[in-house]
Symmetry: C2
Subunit: 147 residues, 2 copies
Protein backbone atom coordinates (compact mmCIF):
# COMPACT_ATOMS: atom_id res chain seq x y z
CA UNK A 1 0.00 0.00 0.00
CA UNK A 2 1.36 3.42 -0.90
CA UNK A 3 2.00 6.00 1.80
CA UNK A 4 -0.71 8.29 0.40
CA UNK A 5 -3.24 5.47 0.31
CA UNK A 6 -2.35 4.46 3.89
CA UNK A 7 -2.80 8.07 5.07
CA UNK A 8 -6.19 8.29 3.33
CA UNK A 9 -7.31 5.07 5.01
CA UNK A 10 -6.10 6.23 8.42
CA UNK A 11 -7.82 9.63 8.15
CA UNK A 12 -11.04 8.05 6.88
CA UNK A 13 -10.95 5.57 9.78
CA UNK A 14 -10.43 8.40 12.28
CA UNK A 15 -13.40 10.28 10.84
CA UNK A 16 -15.60 7.16 10.95
CA UNK A 17 -14.56 6.54 14.56
CA UNK A 18 -15.55 10.11 15.49
CA UNK A 19 -19.16 9.55 14.44
CA UNK A 20 -19.28 6.04 15.92
CA UNK A 21 -18.04 7.55 19.19
CA UNK A 22 -20.77 10.21 19.15
CA UNK A 23 -23.42 7.56 18.41
CA UNK A 24 -22.13 5.39 21.27
CA UNK A 25 -22.81 8.15 23.79
CA UNK A 26 -19.36 7.54 25.29
CA UNK A 27 -17.81 10.93 26.04
CA UNK A 28 -14.38 9.39 26.72
CA UNK A 29 -14.39 7.86 23.24
CA UNK A 30 -15.17 11.26 21.70
CA UNK A 31 -12.49 12.87 23.89
CA UNK A 32 -9.92 10.38 22.56
CA UNK A 33 -10.44 11.72 19.04
CA UNK A 34 -9.52 15.29 20.02
CA UNK A 35 -5.92 16.46 20.01
CA UNK A 36 -4.49 17.04 23.47
CA UNK A 37 -3.87 20.75 22.80
CA UNK A 38 -5.30 24.08 23.82
CA UNK A 39 -5.73 25.36 20.25
CA UNK A 40 -8.52 22.93 19.37
CA UNK A 41 -11.79 24.54 18.33
CA UNK A 42 -15.30 23.21 17.80
CA UNK A 43 -18.44 24.66 16.21
CA UNK A 44 -21.61 22.66 16.89
CA UNK A 45 -24.59 23.29 14.55
CA UNK A 46 -26.00 26.75 15.30
CA UNK A 47 -23.41 27.40 18.04
CA UNK A 48 -20.68 30.00 18.24
CA UNK A 49 -17.16 28.49 18.43
CA UNK A 50 -15.98 26.67 21.56
CA UNK A 51 -12.22 26.96 22.05
CA UNK A 52 -9.71 24.94 24.06
CA UNK A 53 -9.70 21.21 24.88
CA UNK A 54 -11.45 21.42 28.26
CA UNK A 55 -14.24 23.66 26.95
CA UNK A 56 -14.67 21.54 23.82
CA UNK A 57 -14.94 18.30 25.79
CA UNK A 58 -17.39 19.88 28.22
CA UNK A 59 -19.57 21.00 25.29
CA UNK A 60 -19.69 17.40 24.01
CA UNK A 61 -20.55 16.13 27.50
CA UNK A 62 -23.47 18.60 27.67
CA UNK A 63 -24.74 17.68 24.20
CA UNK A 64 -24.39 13.94 24.74
CA UNK A 65 -26.09 14.13 28.15
CA UNK A 66 -29.06 15.80 26.45
CA UNK A 67 -29.27 13.37 23.53
CA UNK A 68 -31.17 10.14 24.18
CA UNK A 69 -30.42 8.70 20.77
CA UNK A 70 -28.44 9.79 17.73
CA UNK A 71 -27.59 8.04 14.49
CA UNK A 72 -25.66 9.32 11.47
CA UNK A 73 -26.23 8.23 7.88
CA UNK A 74 -23.15 9.22 5.84
CA UNK A 75 -24.08 10.57 2.41
CA UNK A 76 -20.72 11.82 1.20
CA UNK A 77 -17.16 12.48 2.37
CA UNK A 78 -14.07 13.99 0.84
CA UNK A 79 -10.56 13.76 2.30
CA UNK A 80 -7.75 16.21 1.56
CA UNK A 81 -4.31 15.63 3.07
CA UNK A 82 -1.41 18.08 3.03
CA UNK A 83 1.59 16.87 5.01
CA UNK A 84 0.51 16.38 8.60
CA UNK A 85 -2.90 18.05 8.29
CA UNK A 86 -6.05 16.55 6.79
CA UNK A 87 -9.48 18.03 6.14
CA UNK A 88 -12.48 15.74 5.92
CA UNK A 89 -15.62 17.42 4.58
CA UNK A 90 -18.55 15.10 5.12
CA UNK A 91 -22.33 15.11 4.95
CA UNK A 92 -24.72 13.07 7.07
CA UNK A 93 -28.38 12.51 7.44
CA UNK A 94 -29.05 12.59 11.16
CA UNK A 95 -31.74 11.04 13.32
CA UNK A 96 -31.84 12.25 16.92
CA UNK A 97 -34.05 12.07 19.99
CA UNK A 98 -33.55 14.33 22.97
CA UNK A 99 -36.36 12.79 25.05
CA UNK A 100 -35.94 9.16 26.14
CA UNK A 101 -39.69 8.84 26.65
CA UNK A 102 -40.31 9.80 23.02
CA UNK A 103 -41.19 6.66 21.12
CA UNK A 104 -41.35 8.34 17.70
CA UNK A 105 -38.61 8.57 15.14
CA UNK A 106 -37.24 11.78 16.63
CA UNK A 107 -35.95 14.65 14.58
CA UNK A 108 -34.21 14.32 11.26
CA UNK A 109 -31.73 16.77 9.81
CA UNK A 110 -29.00 17.05 7.20
CA UNK A 111 -25.62 18.25 8.44
CA UNK A 112 -22.27 19.05 6.87
CA UNK A 113 -19.02 19.02 8.82
CA UNK A 114 -15.45 20.10 8.19
CA UNK A 115 -13.14 18.02 10.36
CA UNK A 116 -9.50 19.09 10.45
CA UNK A 117 -7.15 16.39 11.76
CA UNK A 118 -3.48 16.67 12.75
CA UNK A 119 -1.07 13.75 12.54
CA UNK A 120 0.21 12.79 15.98
CA UNK A 121 2.54 10.00 17.12
CA UNK A 122 -0.44 7.76 17.88
CA UNK A 123 -2.68 8.69 14.96
CA UNK A 124 -4.77 11.50 13.52
CA UNK A 125 -6.44 13.76 16.07
CA UNK A 126 -9.05 16.52 15.69
CA UNK A 127 -7.75 20.09 15.58
CA UNK A 128 -11.07 21.60 14.47
CA UNK A 129 -14.65 20.40 13.98
CA UNK A 130 -17.24 22.67 12.36
CA UNK A 131 -20.73 21.27 11.82
CA UNK A 132 -23.76 23.07 10.42
CA UNK A 133 -27.23 22.34 9.11
CA UNK A 134 -27.79 21.91 5.39
CA UNK A 135 -31.01 23.63 4.40
CA UNK A 136 -32.79 21.62 1.73
CA UNK A 137 -35.43 22.55 -0.76
CA UNK A 138 -35.93 23.53 -4.35
CA UNK A 139 -34.33 26.93 -3.83
CA UNK A 140 -30.95 25.20 -3.67
CA UNK A 141 -30.89 23.93 -7.22
CA UNK A 142 -27.92 26.15 -7.95
CA UNK A 143 -26.11 24.57 -5.06
CA UNK A 144 -26.81 21.05 -6.18
CA UNK A 145 -25.47 21.90 -9.63
CA UNK A 146 -22.16 22.89 -8.07
CA UNK A 147 -21.58 19.55 -6.42
CA UNK B 1 9.30 40.89 15.18
CA UNK B 2 9.40 37.19 15.96
CA UNK B 3 8.59 34.65 13.25
CA UNK B 4 5.47 33.49 15.13
CA UNK B 5 4.25 37.05 15.54
CA UNK B 6 4.87 37.76 11.83
CA UNK B 7 2.91 34.63 10.85
CA UNK B 8 0.03 35.66 13.09
CA UNK B 9 -0.04 39.09 11.52
CA UNK B 10 0.08 37.66 7.99
CA UNK B 11 -2.74 35.16 8.62
CA UNK B 12 -4.87 37.81 10.33
CA UNK B 13 -4.31 40.15 7.37
CA UNK B 14 -5.30 37.41 4.90
CA UNK B 15 -8.50 36.75 6.85
CA UNK B 16 -9.32 40.47 6.98
CA UNK B 17 -8.70 40.77 3.23
CA UNK B 18 -11.10 37.85 2.57
CA UNK B 19 -14.01 39.72 4.16
CA UNK B 20 -13.03 43.06 2.61
CA UNK B 21 -12.97 41.28 -0.78
CA UNK B 22 -16.48 39.86 -0.24
CA UNK B 23 -17.75 43.29 0.83
CA UNK B 24 -16.20 44.89 -2.27
CA UNK B 25 -18.27 42.66 -4.57
CA UNK B 26 -15.11 41.98 -6.60
CA UNK B 27 -15.11 38.27 -7.48
CA UNK B 28 -11.49 38.43 -8.71
CA UNK B 29 -10.38 39.74 -5.33
CA UNK B 30 -12.15 36.84 -3.58
CA UNK B 31 -10.64 34.40 -6.11
CA UNK B 32 -7.16 35.70 -5.27
CA UNK B 33 -7.60 34.54 -1.66
CA UNK B 34 -8.25 30.93 -2.66
CA UNK B 35 -5.41 28.49 -3.16
CA UNK B 36 -4.85 27.51 -6.79
CA UNK B 37 -5.57 23.84 -6.11
CA UNK B 38 -8.31 21.32 -6.79
CA UNK B 39 -8.64 20.18 -3.18
CA UNK B 40 -10.13 23.46 -1.92
CA UNK B 41 -13.56 23.18 -0.34
CA UNK B 42 -16.18 25.72 0.67
CA UNK B 43 -19.36 25.52 2.77
CA UNK B 44 -21.61 28.58 2.52
CA UNK B 45 -24.20 29.06 5.31
CA UNK B 46 -26.92 26.41 4.88
CA UNK B 47 -25.23 24.91 1.81
CA UNK B 48 -23.73 21.49 1.24
CA UNK B 49 -19.98 21.55 0.49
CA UNK B 50 -18.70 22.89 -2.84
CA UNK B 51 -15.43 21.22 -3.89
CA UNK B 52 -12.70 22.21 -6.33
CA UNK B 53 -11.40 25.66 -7.26
CA UNK B 54 -13.61 26.23 -10.33
CA UNK B 55 -16.80 25.17 -8.51
CA UNK B 56 -15.90 27.20 -5.42
CA UNK B 57 -15.23 30.37 -7.43
CA UNK B 58 -18.46 29.89 -9.40
CA UNK B 59 -20.43 29.61 -6.14
CA UNK B 60 -18.95 32.92 -4.98
CA UNK B 61 -19.81 34.53 -8.33
CA UNK B 62 -23.43 33.38 -7.96
CA UNK B 63 -23.71 34.60 -4.37
CA UNK B 64 -22.04 37.95 -5.09
CA UNK B 65 -24.21 38.51 -8.20
CA UNK B 66 -27.28 38.05 -6.01
CA UNK B 67 -26.09 40.28 -3.16
CA UNK B 68 -26.69 44.01 -3.62
CA UNK B 69 -24.94 44.95 -0.40
CA UNK B 70 -23.08 43.10 2.32
CA UNK B 71 -21.16 44.30 5.35
CA UNK B 72 -19.41 42.30 8.07
CA UNK B 73 -18.97 43.42 11.67
CA UNK B 74 -16.23 41.27 13.24
CA UNK B 75 -17.05 40.26 16.81
CA UNK B 76 -14.27 37.80 17.52
CA UNK B 77 -11.46 35.88 15.87
CA UNK B 78 -8.96 33.29 16.94
CA UNK B 79 -5.89 32.21 14.96
CA UNK B 80 -4.15 28.86 15.34
CA UNK B 81 -1.01 28.13 13.30
CA UNK B 82 0.72 24.77 12.97
CA UNK B 83 3.60 24.83 10.51
CA UNK B 84 2.25 25.79 7.11
CA UNK B 85 -1.45 25.52 7.99
CA UNK B 86 -3.53 28.05 9.92
CA UNK B 87 -7.11 27.95 11.13
CA UNK B 88 -8.95 31.22 11.75
CA UNK B 89 -12.25 30.81 13.59
CA UNK B 90 -14.14 34.06 13.44
CA UNK B 91 -17.56 35.49 14.19
CA UNK B 92 -19.30 38.33 12.40
CA UNK B 93 -22.48 40.25 12.57
CA UNK B 94 -23.70 40.55 9.00
CA UNK B 95 -25.88 43.08 7.22
CA UNK B 96 -27.00 42.09 3.72
CA UNK B 97 -29.42 43.22 1.03
CA UNK B 98 -30.29 41.02 -1.93
CA UNK B 99 -32.58 43.59 -3.59
CA UNK B 100 -30.99 46.83 -4.85
CA UNK B 101 -34.36 48.56 -4.79
CA UNK B 102 -34.72 47.79 -1.09
CA UNK B 103 -34.05 51.00 0.82
CA UNK B 104 -34.29 49.41 4.27
CA UNK B 105 -31.48 48.04 6.39
CA UNK B 106 -31.71 44.59 4.82
CA UNK B 107 -31.29 41.38 6.74
CA UNK B 108 -29.06 40.91 9.73
CA UNK B 109 -27.52 37.66 10.88
CA UNK B 110 -24.74 36.27 13.03
CA UNK B 111 -22.30 33.92 11.34
CA UNK B 112 -19.30 31.86 12.39
CA UNK B 113 -16.62 30.73 9.97
CA UNK B 114 -13.66 28.37 10.09
CA UNK B 115 -11.10 29.49 7.53
CA UNK B 116 -8.19 27.11 6.91
CA UNK B 117 -5.22 28.77 5.16
CA UNK B 118 -2.14 27.16 3.63
CA UNK B 119 1.21 28.93 3.38
CA UNK B 120 2.21 29.45 -0.23
CA UNK B 121 5.19 31.19 -1.80
CA UNK B 122 3.20 34.41 -2.17
CA UNK B 123 1.28 34.29 1.08
CA UNK B 124 -1.48 32.44 2.91
CA UNK B 125 -4.26 31.04 0.70
CA UNK B 126 -7.62 29.49 1.59
CA UNK B 127 -7.77 25.69 1.61
CA UNK B 128 -11.19 25.51 3.25
CA UNK B 129 -13.95 27.96 4.25
CA UNK B 130 -16.92 26.78 6.32
CA UNK B 131 -19.49 29.39 7.35
CA UNK B 132 -22.71 28.81 9.25
CA UNK B 133 -25.41 30.77 11.05
CA UNK B 134 -25.19 31.28 14.81
CA UNK B 135 -28.61 30.86 16.33
CA UNK B 136 -29.08 33.31 19.17
CA UNK B 137 -31.43 33.34 22.09
CA UNK B 138 -31.62 32.57 25.78
CA UNK B 139 -31.50 28.84 25.16
CA UNK B 140 -27.81 29.20 24.35
CA UNK B 141 -26.69 30.31 27.78
CA UNK B 142 -24.76 27.08 28.16
CA UNK B 143 -22.95 27.88 24.97
CA UNK B 144 -22.10 31.38 26.02
CA UNK B 145 -20.66 30.05 29.27
CA UNK B 146 -18.25 27.92 27.27
CA UNK B 147 -16.69 30.82 25.47
Amino acid sequence: MSEISADLDAVTAANTELYAAIESGDVERVAAMWDDADDVVCVHPGWPPVRGRSHVLRSWAVIMANTAYIQFFPTGADVGIDGDVAIVTCEHGLLARTDEKDTGFGETARVVASNVFRRRGDGWRLWSHHASPVLGGDDQEGTEAER
